[in-house]
């Protein structure tokens, strides 16, 4: 059984801000049924770019539900600029931590938020730069390099916990390892 904090359990059992928001003016969606978790984030943003309401719908494990609930609580009242600086670590910290195998749940929150902000601002998120390494979860080498650098990831397992890359068919695992090596070497130089 996972070692979930009381806060994770509380947010799973009694999630805040659940449901579709009819009058949302920003929506961000991430994940899919195939992946095993998905999040749809709804925001109501006022003319000063302040988030006056947030809600979510989540398909996933207890930590995915808790991360979504925490995210909506964190960003309510923030301006979009402030919200854009919220990271997955902020979500995990708010919950008193997540098991490392479940960090991708908080990453999903951060990514849905980015998409919602882009949606409000009318920015189209274009095809991701870089080369797709993991087909199952659509993760590029640049994303892996970035995650390795900012979070000090060491192994393919760490990468899977963070980005899900490699968590499906596993055919990309060798390639992930190469990318990690390149990222590490780049850091050393």
């Amino acid at each position: 059984m996972w070692d979930y904090t009381d806060k994770v359990k509380e947010h799973f059992l009694n999630p805040k801000n659940v449901g579709e928001m009819e009058d949302a003016n920003a929506v961000g969606e991430t994940g899919s049924l195939n992946c095993g978790d998905a999040l749809k984030l709804f925001l109501k943003v006022n003319e000063n770019e302040r988030i006056i309401d947030a809600s979510f719908m989540t398909f996933g494990c207890a930590s995915a539900v808790a991360s979504s609930s925490a995210l909506t609580e964190i960003i309510k009242g923030m301006t979009l600029d402030e919200a854009a600086r919220v990271t997955n670590d902020d979500i995990a910290d708010y919950l008193g931590g997540l098991p490392k195998e479940k960090m991708h749940c908080s990453v999903m929150g951060q990514s849905a938020l980015k998409k919602a902000i882009a949606d409000f601002r009318g920015i189209q998120i274009l095809a991701k730069p870089g080369e797709v390494v993991c087909e199952c979860f659509d993760v590029t080498d640049l994303e892996i390099i970035d995650a390795v650098k900012t979070n000090g990831l060491e192994t393919t397992e760490d990468v899977t916990h963070y980005l899900k890359a490699g968590g499906g068919c596993g055919q990309c695992l060798d390639r992930i390892e190469e990318v990690i090596e390149t990222a590490k070497q780049a850091q050393e130089n």
Partner: protein, 390 residues
Amino acid sequence: MDVIYTDNNATTKVADEVIETMVPFLGQFYGNPSSMYTFGDEVGKKIRRARQQVAQLINAQPEEIVFTSCGTESDNAAINAAIKAFPEKKHLITSVVEHPAIKNLFSHLAQTQGYEVTFVPVDKKGRLDTDILYESMTQNTALISLMWANNETGVIFPIEEIAQKAKEKGILFHTDAVQATGKVEIDVKAAGVDMLSLSGHKIHAPKGVGVLYVKKGFKFLPFLIGGHQEGGRRGGTENTAAIIGLGKACELAKENLGLMDTQVKGLRDYLESRLLKEIPATSVNGDTENRLPNTLSMGFDAVEGESILMLLDRKGICASSGSACTSGSLDPSHVLMAMEVPFKSAHGTIRFSLSHYNTREEMDLIVETLVPAIDKLRQMSPFWKDGKMI
């Protein structure tokens, strides 16, 4: 809070009668069964009795029974013995839905020792593709190893027929009967298998004890080389109390086999039909015609397994999930994937596995807990709207 235990394919409660049988051998009777004095031989006698009890359950001879530490050891020992017996043959056959004790060892042998392994596929109902199986048997095949019944879906493989075909081709046949033992009748003679594994803790004996049946006449090369215990087929001082407990558990399993087909199956079918009726967009995984009487694998569309388990756990209900998210990986189990169960229900699959200790009241409580739990999760799910999957 009382526990409602419906995860008997994972492990079982040790029967009270088994504990009673074991206790003296944890205290008073601590002699080594190999010793040359009466104090040790008292224990030796009990082990001989346990060997008979195990043999009786599966219609074997006592000298065909080798005690091991678990099902995994039995599986590994069988495979290793087979490849040592036929070093010139470099082909092995198994299925895609085996337990990791088989699957991972075969993959390891393929990677490190140049074995070619055929992993026979299953269809959408989890039934083995016997055409592919039979076509893949060659002169070069050292061993076929197939589970008697699947741990997740309970689907039963046609072991007797396959063993017969293997025999005709002179191929050794091993079956992992860890899940089938005590749930359906196992007769090694009628089935015609060369080796069979079973595990104590799946039949109300303690953990840490298993059995490998080795047919008389097969020159079995040991996996653990040491003293002359187990007829030289497995060295190491016996786990005496557990072995004696396992003997008792086998005796009970034989007596209770009838209950499996009546009481336990009745409860399973009751739970299944209520859940199908009361929760929309729900399906049963696996061949319902040919399935262990205690197992129910159910997929609930648009929700995820770990979340369901957590809500059940709050009411003390123990079951297990078909999504590997509970183990840190993100894919549904390899069994559900091999069966091509659609993602929409595979991620939300829960396995209930019952025993004769379960009651009808417990089944009612499971339904009463699960109906609102699934509803709550679906209201939160982005894939569910107005009572259906979107």
